[in-house]
Structure formats: structure tokens, C-alpha cells
């Protein structure tokens, strides 16, 4: 890869490699498939680099390309992860969240919960919910960008995000209540509470 285009591409796009790999992992759930997806994304991005508007969010552009490749490769799996079909009750607000708030002071959580536990709690979330949390809280995308990436209306992104954060809070609260030792999260108990 030589020349001005190659240099610019390396400077602009390649720093997003880790984030893209993370997104690939979320979409496919498999490290080998995520690697292939990353490679294919960069190849396509390089081919269409003239269409990229410099100064705009390159990470969002690359994520969009990855999503399209993923959709074309596996429509079946994409239906599970992205929201091609919005469930009717998803647009509503989460009343339980209102009830849950205020009863779990974060300061007490902070002493008992460690980042490993949050990772574990995150792994217990349904895929669609985990996706919005990571796109927002790790990758820092705006609601609008997330809506485009997961093919949802912004309202659905907001309600999913709220619900996902609510679930995380519950997982962690249950954990801090039940674990006085080093038992770690118990997926079966916790997921049952979700239903």
C-alpha cells in the first residue's frame, strides 16, 4: 500500500482496528469470523475510500461497512443481533426502571463490584441489548449513529439502552447481595430474574 491514498488510509482507518474487531466479535460471536470480517471491512473501505468524507467520523463509517458485509453474509444471524424487526412493546418506557432507581446507591455498588463483574454482567445481557450498551458506553456513538448501525428507530435505541442499563444494575445488585465470598455471578439465577 503505497502513495498518498495508502498513507491517508493507514492514518485514518487503521487506528479503528481494535474497535472494529470488538464490533465483529459482537456481531459474529466468533473470533475467527470477527477477524475475517475486519479484513473484509478494511478491503472494502480501501476500495471506497474516495467516498469517505474526511473529517467525518471514520469509525462510524467503518462500522457501517462492517454491518453491511455482515448483513450480506448472514441474514439469519443478523436478525438476532440487529433489530430488523422491532417488537411492539419495545417502544414503551421501562416502568420497572423507575421503581428500581434510587434503591441502589451506586456508591455502595462501587465498593463491592469490580470491573470483572461488570464484564460478566454484560455477557449475560441479550445480544441486542449488549450491542447498544457497547456502541454507546464503549465506542461513544451518538443515538443517531447507533440507530443507523443497528437499523432501529432512535426511540428503540433509547429504550433498549435504558433497559440494558437497568438489567446491568439488577445483575450487579443481585450479585452484591448474594455474594459475600467469591462465588461470582450465577447466570442461571440471574437470567431467571430477567424473565
Amino acid at each position: 500500500m503505497n502513495g498518498e491514498k495508502g498513507r491517508l488510509f493507514e492514518e485514518t482507518a487503521l487506528p479503528c482496528l481494535d474497535a472494529l474487531y470488538g464490533f465483529g466479535l459482537l456481531l459474529t460471536g466468533r473470533p475467527d469470523e470477527a477477524e475475517d470480517l475486519v479484513q473484509e471491512t478494511f478491503l472494502r473501505a480501501y476500495r471506497f475510500f474516495h467516498q469517505y468524507e474526511h473529517g467525518t467520523n471514520c469509525k462510524a463509517w467503518l462500522f457501517t461497512i462492517m454491518k453491511h458485509i455482515f448483513l450480506n453474509q448472514s441474514t439469519q444471524k443478523a436478525r438476532m443481533v440487529l433489530c430488523r424487526d422491532v417488537l411492539p412493546d419495545e417502544e414503551g418506557e421501562s416502568q420497572s426502571l423507575w421503581d428500581a432507581m434510587g434503591r441502589s446507591p451506586a456508591s455502595s455498588l462501587r465498593d463491592e463490584v469490580f470491573s470483572k463483574d461488570i464484564e460478566k454482567a454484560l455477557a449475560l445481557l441479550p445480544e441486542t441489548f449488549r450491542l447498544v450498551v457497547i456502541l454507546k458506553d464503549v465506542e461513544g456513538f451518538s443515538y443517531g449513529e447507533i440507530a443507523q448501525l443497528v437499523d432501529c428507530p432512535i426511540g428503540t435505541v433509547m429504550s433498549r439502552l435504558s433497559r440494558a442499563r437497568d438489567m446491568l444494575r439488577r445483575f450487579l445488585r443481585d450479585y452484591s447481595v448474594q455474594s459475600s465470598g467469591s462465588h461470582g455471578l450465577k447466570p442461571t439465577n440471574l437470567t431467571r430474574r430477567l424473565v
Binding site: D18, A19, Y21, G22, P31, V38, F42, R47, N72, D151
Partner: protein
């Protein structure tokens, strides 16, 4: 803002910095005056900060960057050699053209060419029905779909707010045809899938097996790959309507007459992109 629940509904949007300046001021005013919400807000902020700092960023395997760079190099080299091959292949082109003309004359004299836009419309319609191409934007909201395309096309895409009865927008996809941006809109009517394709009319050829004129607009109707197509150009835009139904004109008329006055209806139809 009077209502604490209303405050609560937008608290995450506030924490995520997604509110307008006015909404932000409203929230701040409410938080200053309501100690209960202020406590909720502080707890939620602590919780989200904790989540944000604890969530791990993904780290790609160390070999991946090298692998990607190699793949890019190979692909760039491949592109160059393909260009070379094209140069070699040029002298063979006249022969190929002669051969194709001979084939056309001897074997399928009745077959007429298909306008590129109609071809693109039918192919995309078919691929979409088969689930091979997804919609870039899946939404029933004409405004949202219109706005999505507005940023991506060099022509206006205004979709009507009050679509014809039974006609539901499913979403759209941006396709390319000979370097032109083409809007593909998917609709559903009485459980049948319809598609409408539109692009800037300049340089687009339209023709068909049947022609007719309605209120000074020339319409072309054809059957292609088992689908009915109706194409026309109006006010600088070219349209192709694709349907699996036999009576596409009747359908189109139905849509037109559903709106009352013909002239007005046709104008509105083109505005709505139907």
C-alpha cells in the same frame, strides 16, 4: 418541567449529552428545584460512570493488523494487474462485439434491450424479495426515510405523509447504477411487495413494450423477469415501479384515482414516489 417521571424519561438522554440546549436547561432547572430527582440523577450518574470505566475496550489479536496490511497490499497489487489485463483485452473487444451481434441477429431477434434503470429496479426488487439485499433504512416513517436519503442523494426525495390506503412503506436502500445514485423504496400493499426506484432523469433512457400518455406524462410498461414494470419521467426524476401483479396499470390507476383529481393525484404520486 413539572413532572418527575417526564424528567426520568429523558435522564439517560441528558446523561448521554443527547438533549437539545433548551431541554438541557429544563432538566437542570428541574434538578435544582427537586431534591428527589437530584438524588436519582447523582446515583444514575455514578452508576453509568462506573459502567463506562469498567467496560473493557476490545483488543484485536496482535497478528491481525499485519494480516490486514498484507491483504490490502495484495488487493492493491491485484487491482493493478487487472488494469493491465483490461489493456490486453481491448483488441479482443471488437471480435466479441461482432460475435454478440451475430448471436443477437441469429438467435433472438425478438428480444428487446431493457433500460438500465428498469434492469436495476427489477434486479434489486428480486434480490430484496429473496432476502439477498437488506434495506439500508427499515422504517415505515416517510419523513425518516426521506431524511435518510436527503443526505445521500443529489436530488430531492420527498415522501408524502399520507400514503394511499393499504400502501405501507417498508424502507429504502441506496443503490448505484452507472455511477448514478438510485433510491430504492420498498412498499407493501395487500400483502404484495411493490418497489419504486427513482433517480435523476438526466441521461436515463426509458422505453417499454407498451407506451401510453397520461396528462402529458409518457409511461412505459413492460414485463421483465416475471415482474411488471411501469416507468416514467417527471420533473427531472425518472421512476420505475415494480410489482409482481399482473394488472400494474389498474393498480397504478387505483392509486391515482384514490386521490381524486387525476392531475393532482399524479403530481402527488410523483412527490410521494409511488
Amino acid at each position: 418541567m413539572q413532572d418527575c417521571q417526564a424528567m426520568f424519561r429523558i435522564m439517560h438522554a441528558y446523561l448521554d449529552g443527547e438533549l437539545s440546549a433548551k431541554e438541557t436547561v429544563d432538566v437542570q432547572t428541574h434538578l435544582d428545584s427537586c431534591p428527589e430527582c437530584a438524588v436519582l440523577y447523582r446515583n444514575e450518574k455514578l452508576f453509568l460512570d462506573l459502567v463506562k470505566e469498567s467496560l473493557p475496550s476490545a483488543v484485536a489479536p496482535r497478528h491481525l493488523e499485519q494480516k490486514v496490511k498484507m491483504a490490502l497490499k495484495t488487493s492493491v497489487a491485484g487491482e493493478r494487474s487487472r488494469k493491465y489485463l483490461r489493456m490486453v483485452a481491448v483488441p479482443a473487444l471488437p471480435m466479441a462485439v461482432l460475435f454478440l451481434i451475430a448471436m443477437a441477429v441469429f438467435f433472438s431477434p425478438e428480444r428487446k434491450p431493457v433500460p438500465a434503470l428498469v434492469n436495476a429496479a427489477v434486479n434489486t426488487h428480486q434480490e430484496y424479495l429473496n432476502g439477498n439485499v437488506p434495506l439500508d433504512i427499515a422504517s415505515r416513517d416517510p419523513v425518516q426515510v426521506g431524511l435518510w436519503f436527503e443526505k445521500r442523494t443529489n436530488f430531492p426525495v420527498s415522501l408524502g405523509q399520507d400514503p394511499v390506503k393499504n400502501l405501507r412503506l417498508l424502507g429504502g436502500r441506496l443503490i448505484e447504477m452507472e455511477g448514478k445514485k438510485v433510491v430504492f423504496l420498498a412498499y407493501e400493499m395487500d400483502k404484495h411487495r411493490l418497489s419504486l426506484v427513482m433517480t435523476a432523469a438526466q441521461g436515463v433512457d426509458l422505453f417499454g413494450a407498451r407506451e401510453f400518455t397520461v396528462k402529458e406524462s409518457r409511461f412505459y410498461q413492460s414485463t421483465y423477469h416475471g415482474f411488471q414494470t411501469l416507468s416514467w419521467a417527471q420533473e427531472g426524476l425518472a421512476y420505475v415501479f415494480v410489482s409482481d401483479q399482473q394488472e400494474i396499470n389498474k393498480k397504478a390507476c387505483l392509486i391515482c384515482h384514490g386521490h381524486g383529481q387525476d392531475q393532482e393525484a399524479i403530481k402527488r404520486l410523483s412527490e410521494q414516489g409511488i
